[in-house]
């Protein structure tokens, strides 16, 4: 095990896959000469040259579509978005092309593309720059969506994503790029897409949380433990396909569920997980399922407002307690 930053784990994943497979290339704004807006691709231009580490103009729709075409022709593009906020101008390419071309062609075409970049709130950036896109893209069959919370998962899952033959959306976080963690140094470390990770076990309540929210959930669980409440924390890691089974198994034991997700609430993935679990665990639930999300307004800029807007450890503790009628 080596301790790596999240960005380094991503870089290692890309680098290893590019070394083993010539068809993998990286394309996006500032990925090459600038070494990446968030330095994820630092040094990769030097290693792989401008044919494989490719700077683009600010044309997300154009280069996403370009990546899709290249993927259909057998390449394995990694498209970096500076953040997922900027994919709204490429929405049609992702939803109408990446997700549907295989189906519409009756299985003739495959689209082995990875799209990746920072997602969700990233501090005081205002409403245009604080979107969580899970709700938008997870609604779309044909896509797979991964959102890891730590460097180890990031590496193993990004390698899996690059090798996957279907379009994979990989959600990172600007605020986590510097996060350090132990990363496996197995020679070929690939994790399965669609498998949740049970991060902590407890009998009183189940908390599901991915990406940044995972850390809130863990902090809340520690705090709850001090108050005598033992929580199971599940990091789904993959949003689509969602590992419902793992949550069901846990809720059958704890009888209580809280979902933490920093997306907007209405039709977000917290609702989806909640819906599936109320169906699967109807007889096991001892309390309504709770969700902790961003507030249902656009993201504000002011420090105190954006803090109040984001889901918090306190919100999570309060929600868990509500499920326990505490």
């Amino acid at each position: 095990m080596a301790e790596l930053q999240f960005r380094e784990a991503l870089r290692d994943a890309m680098t290893e896959e590019m070394e083993r497979d010539d068809t993998v290339f990286l394309m996006g704004e500032e990925v090459a000469e600038y070494d990446g807006a968030y330095k994820v691709s630092q040094g990769m231009l030097d290693q792989f040259g401008p044919e494989r580490i490719i700077d683009t103009p600010i044309s997300e729709s154009g280069f996403t579509g370009l990546g899709i075409g290249a993927a259909i022709m057998g390449l394995r593009p990694i498209i970096e978005f500076m953040t997922w906020n900027f994919t709204f101008v490429a929405f049609d390419q992702i939803v109408s092309n990446a997700a549907k071309v295989r189906y519409m062609s009756g299985g003739q075409a495959r689209v082995p593309i990875v799209m990746r970049g920072g997602n969700g709130g990233a501090g005081q950036l205002g409403a245009t720059h604080s979107n969580s896109v899970e709700a938008f893209y997870s609604n779309v069959p044909g896509l797979k969506i991964i959102a890891p919370s730590n460097p180890d998962d990031a590496k193993g899952l990004l390698k899996a994503a690059i090798r996957d033959d279907d379009p994979v959306l990989f959600l990172e976080s600007e605020l986590m790029f510097g996060l350090k963690g132990e990363v496996s140094d197995d020679e070929d470390y690939v994790l399965p897409i669609g498998k949740a990770r049970i991060a902590r076990e407890g009998d009183d309540v189940t908390i599901v949380a991915h990406s940044k929210s995972y850390w809130l959930a863990m902090e809340a669980a520690e705090e709850l433990a001090k108050q005598g409440v033992e929580a199971t924390v599940i990091d789904p890691r993959t949003i689509r396909p969602f590992d419902t089974g793992a949550v069901i198994d846990s809720v059958k034991q704890t009888n209580r569920l809280v979902i933490v997700d920093e997306s907007q609430p209405f039709g977000g993935i917290a609702s989806e997980i909640g819906f599936q679990i109320q169906q699967a665990c109807f007889d096991h639930l001892d309390a309504p399922i709770e969700r902790v999300t961003a507030k249902d307004v656009p993201a504000p800029y002011a420090k105190n407002l954006i803090e109040a807007w984001m889901p918090s450890v306190d919100d999570t503790i309060a929600a868990a307690k509500r499920t326990l009628y505490m």
Partner: protein, 392 residues
Amino acid sequence: MAATTKKTSAPKKKAPAAKAAAAKASAPKAASGKGANGAAGFTPDVPDVRIYRGSGHTHESLGLSADDVLAMYRNMLLQRRFEERAAQMYGRQKIAGFLHLYIGQEAVSTGAVWATRPTDPIITAYRDHGLALARGMSSDSGMAELFGKIDGCSRGKGGSMHFFDVSKHFYGGHGIVGGQIPVGVGMGFASKYKGDGGCAMVFFGDGAINQGAFHEAANLAALYDVPVLIIVENNEYAMGTSVERARGDANLYKQGYPYGMTTAVVDGMDLFEVYGAFRQLADQARGAEDGQTRPFFVEVQTYRYRGHSMSDPQKYRTKEEMESKKGEDPIIRTKMYILEHELATQPDLDQIDEEVKAEVMAAVDFAEQSPLPDVSTMYEDVYVQEDYPFIA
């Protein structure tokens, strides 16, 4: 061969460039560099436009045999008869959804396909039957797709707007106006990346040029020297909207200029003109002459004889206009050429017509008899991974 006005294109720096030499010198100030004293000293670049029209080609000058010409003729006719029959079947409700006929534009598909390699990827919009058949899709699988049957080219999943035949390097059939343009550029990009000498062709309509995706994709193609022909089939209308009513300037040839791309304007009603243009353009794009790949922006001027789709009252154009265009029918023109140059006799051509009709009728039978897809197939082809977990 068409006269061409090739000029040295403006110097530019590739995006994947060496890190050190960021010689950003003069380009953005080029306009001013020419002279310190305002417009007097400034002359804008001359747009680089090649015209492929009235070139006076013969099949011999193009290196085509009589058999070649007859094969092309036969395919144009196949496209025509296939669609006439499809329209009939639509009337009988054997075919549903939207059905957009290519009738009138067959010289474009046929000339383009014959002029290029069978492995050069093709991608187009929803008006896709002509190009698919030109590229060798069987009428059977095309018709079965229209009927929504399991033997259809897209297993009954795509329908008229989403024909695919990857074995023929035909990549659809796309329903969102303009959405295929970046994808087509990506196909050319893959050729350059692999160095396989391919030249992609992406077709779209005069309406689609007004999508942002066109602009972004064209610039990327030019920036990366992608071997791709970016082809607007200007059939004068987008549904009921003429080009004049959709553009600040109706001269589509201008749209290559800002990207520093050479524009070709091609007479799309003339099979040989299309063939000659595409052969030259595709070969130059793939770098066959100088080892340098590059894109071209191609305006093919053509005409759609039928309505936009099956439910179009066509009040936006006059009978006179349509009559006058009938005189340019690419199939009739090719037929005349064949007879004049004695490449075949009228009975030979009648024979071809019979064959084509029979092929299309057989396709209808095939489509009729092909089974509906099993409902379980609905869950297939979403992902490559077969054990992908669904929620029902």
